[in-house]
Every structure is written in structure tokens, then in C-alpha cells.
Amino acid sequence: MRGHPILRLVVLICFLTIAGIPVYLITLERPVGVQSIAAPSAKKITLYEITLTPSTPALLSLASVGQKSIESLPGADSLRATYSMDAAKPEDLVVKALFASPQKNAALRIQVQVAGKTLTDATLWGSETIEDVISISVP
């Protein structure tokens, strides 16, 4: 290519610009259909009143992640606790009852209330020991 050096430079810039357009369009950032990033919602702390009632007196315990574990004296008739947790995602409860002697149909009732309204009312069955996890329903 012959001609004035400035003209040659202008032609070269034009060529590079035109060639760069498809590259720019291909690499342009676009939103993709991967999982949407949900903005973390503000926590709404709620008081959960939890009551454990065994069929016969037992050593009762209650635990939940981020909460203080609570244990009754042996031979307790019930165990009550109040946990403050996020209303949108209340943590699961680990409940345990250790009965003094093996029984055929020992039971442990777990009630969870918020402001007097029952969210969870479950009964677990077992013999000498009952241990399981209870999920709290979201109101």
C-alpha cells in the first residue's frame, strides 16, 4: 500500500476498529441465567417458646445452633425454653429425653409457639432414649 504515511495510519486505525467490533460484542458482559443472587434480607428476630413434655418423667435436653443448650434435672415433667431466632429461617431443634427405665411406648411431645400461636406440635416415640431433630415451621 502506497500513499501518505498519515493516510496509511488512518486506514490502519479504521481497519483495526472495524475488526475489533465483533470481538467487543462477543466479550460484552451480559446477565446470565445462573442462580440469581438474592439480596440478604434483614433478619426479623422472633421469640420462640419451646416446651418438651415426656410421657413419664425423664432427663430432658434441648439444643439449637447459636443458642444456649438447656438440660433439665433427671425425672423432669417438662422443660421450657425461649430462643430468639430469625423468623425467616429458624434453626432446627435437637431434642432428647432419657427415661429412667426402658419403656415400650415412651413419648416426647415438642411444642413450639410464637406469641401464643402454635407453629409446631410433634410427638416422638421411642423406648429408653428419644433423640431427634425438629424443624420449626415458618409462620
Binding site: G33, S64, E91, D92, V94, V133
Partner: protein
């Protein structure tokens, strides 16, 4: 005396006939373990897919076909996990081989991945064994199939299935208690591929897979970039590799996000050692997840 020997020979023959186990081939390491638990000595289980191998990439060899054609029953996962299954089934069912497909006994869930490519998985997640409830259902399915094929073993199969079901129930409770130690906000699983959907559904986890539903799905650089952004924003503490994959991409993600490699999960079947049984595999996965995310 002659009569005594005749009875002895008859009893001996009867014992031999009874001792001949039901020959079963399994296209899944998990199904092989369930079959061994239910069948006991009455069943001879041959594993076509070995622990630690990638079932997504498996294609039956002529040697495997020969092995499978010599059995009375074939156990398969179904739900698209074995893309070759229809072809294999149509050729072997003619010769009297019974096919038990676990997918028909479970509650399938849809794939979570939106942009995966179709690798014969359609839109159903085929990794049903990560839900213990599904394994219980398949245990009953296998028990019934064994009873139909070997009615003389009914009592054995029923007792074995009941014993295994009790172990599964104990495992289920153990899993719940272990996971209760993990705050719900931390129940995010970043894994190599989207194989733990059933586990996530049962236990309140969210899955962020690097690959799609199959190990053959490759992530685009754009997807990896967005995943890195999400891991940073949601402060995910650890991400997990799988026993049958090269965790190179995961290492790159850990370098950019600050998350650690949480350990190895058994996603596509059983492993070896302690993870060589279904119960062991689940315990290993749960221990790894809780240990890394806590």
C-alpha cells in the same frame, strides 16, 4: 441302607439347588450394596461399574455385555443415568433377563441447573440415592424383585430388607442430628457437578454447581465468573470436590474467592474404604460437609 443313601443324596441335591444364588448384575455401586444387603447369601451380585469410576462416562464393553448376559437380573438406576440402558434392555430382555430400574420406585426431582446441555438426562436429576427415603423405596423394590425371582428366599429377603431399612432409618436420624449443628444460612453446597439435588432438597441446602448434571458438562468461563462472585457475596466458607474428578477448576475458584477446599464428596456412587457402602458413603459426605461449613 439303600433307602438311607437315597435320602442322603436327595437332601444333598436339594441343598445344592438351594445354594445356587440368584445372579444379579448391577450398573450402580449403590444398587449393588442394597442388593447385597437384601439378598445376603442367596444373591451373587456382580458390579459392572466399580467404585470410584465415573458412571456418566461409562459405556459397556463387549466383556461387560457378556457378563451381563449371564445373569438373571440387572439393576439399573434409570432416570437417564445410563444413556445406553434402553438399548441394553431391549437386547437382553428377549433372553429372559429381568431389569429392575430404581428410577421407577423413587420420587424424581427436576435438575436445578438452567443452562446444562442435554446428555441424556432430560430434565430429571438421576442421582436419587442422595435421598435416604429414595433408598428405602428402592430397597423394597429390590426385595420384591428378589422374591419374585426366588420365592423360596422370601423369608430371608424380607428379614434382610427390614434390617437394612432399620439401618437406613438410624442413618437418617444421624444425618438430621449432624446437620442441625450447621446454621441454615451456611447450607450452601458448591460442588463440582450438580449431583446433590436430592440431598439438598431433603436437608435445606442450596446447590451452586460448577458443572451441570453430568460430569461431561463443562462450565463456561462466564458461569465460573458469576459463581466466584456469588461465593464471595454469600461468604461461602468451603467448596467441595468429588471422588472421580479433577478438582483443578475448584482450586482456581478457591484461589479467587478465599473459600477452602472442603474435602471430597461421593456424588456418583460409592467410594472405597469406609465409603464403600451406602451407609459409609452418606456418613462420609455428611461429616465432610458439616466439618467444612461449620
Amino acid at each position: 441302607m439303600r433307602q438311607f443313601f437315597s435320602i442322603l443324596i436327595f437332601v444333598g441335591l436339594a441343598t445344592l439347588v438351594q445354594a445356587e444364588p440368584l445372579k444379579v448384575a448391577s450398573l450402580s455401586t449403590v444398587l449393588a450394596d442394597i442388593a447385597r444387603n437384601v439378598g445376603g447369601d442367596r444373591v451373587d451380585v456382580r458390579e459392572i461399574i466399580k467404585p470410584g469410576s465415573d458412571p456418566h462416562l461409562y459405556e459397556p464393553t463387549p466383556g461387560d455385555i457378556k457378563k451381563i448376559s449371564n445373569v438373571q437380573m440387572v439393576l439399573a438406576s434409570g432416570l437417564g443415568f445410563e444413556p445406553y440402558l434402553d438399548k441394553l434392555r431391549s437386547s437382553l430382555e428377549k433372553s429372559g433377563v429381568i431389569f429392575v430400574v430404581a428410577g421407577s420406585a423413587v420420587k424424581p426431582i427436576a435438575c436445578m441447573e438452567e443452562d446444562h446441555h442435554d446428555h441424556g438426562h432430560a430434565s430429571t436429576d438421576p442421582h436419587w440415592w442422595h435421598s435416604i427415603a429414595n433408598v428405602e423405596a428402592v430397597t423394597m423394590q429390590i426385595r420384591d424383585a428378589f422374591i419374585a425371582a426366588d420365592p423360596a428366599g422370601t423369608a430371608t429377603f424380607e428379614a434382610n430388607a427390614k434390617a437394612f431399612e432399620e439401618k437406613l432409618e438410624a442413618l437418617s436420624k444421624w444425618v438430621r442430628i449432624q446437620l442441625a449443628a450447621l446454621p441454615k444460612s451456611k447450607r450452601i453446597l458448591v460442588t463440582s457437578h450438580d449431583a446433590l439435588g436430592y440431598f439438598a432438597k431433603d436437608n435445606g441446602f442450596e446447590i451452586l454447581p460448577v458443572q451441570g448434571i453430568s460430569t461431561s458438562d463443562q462450565p463456561s468461563s462466564r458461569k465460573v465468573r458469576h459463581l466466584i462472585q456469588e461465593i464471595k457475596e454469600r461468604q461461602v466458607k468451603a467448596i467441595f470436590a468429588e471422588n472421580i474428578e479433577n478438582p483443578k477448576v475448584l482450586r482456581q475458584i478457591t484461589m479467587e474467592t478465599g473459600a477452602t477446599l472442603g474435602g471430597t464428596l461421593y456424588a456418583d456412587g460409592l467410594g472405597t474404604g469406609d465409603a464403600g457402602t451406602y451407609l459409609g458413603m452418606m456418613r462420609s459426605n455428611v461429616t465432610t460437609i458439616v466439618g467444612a461449613l461449620q
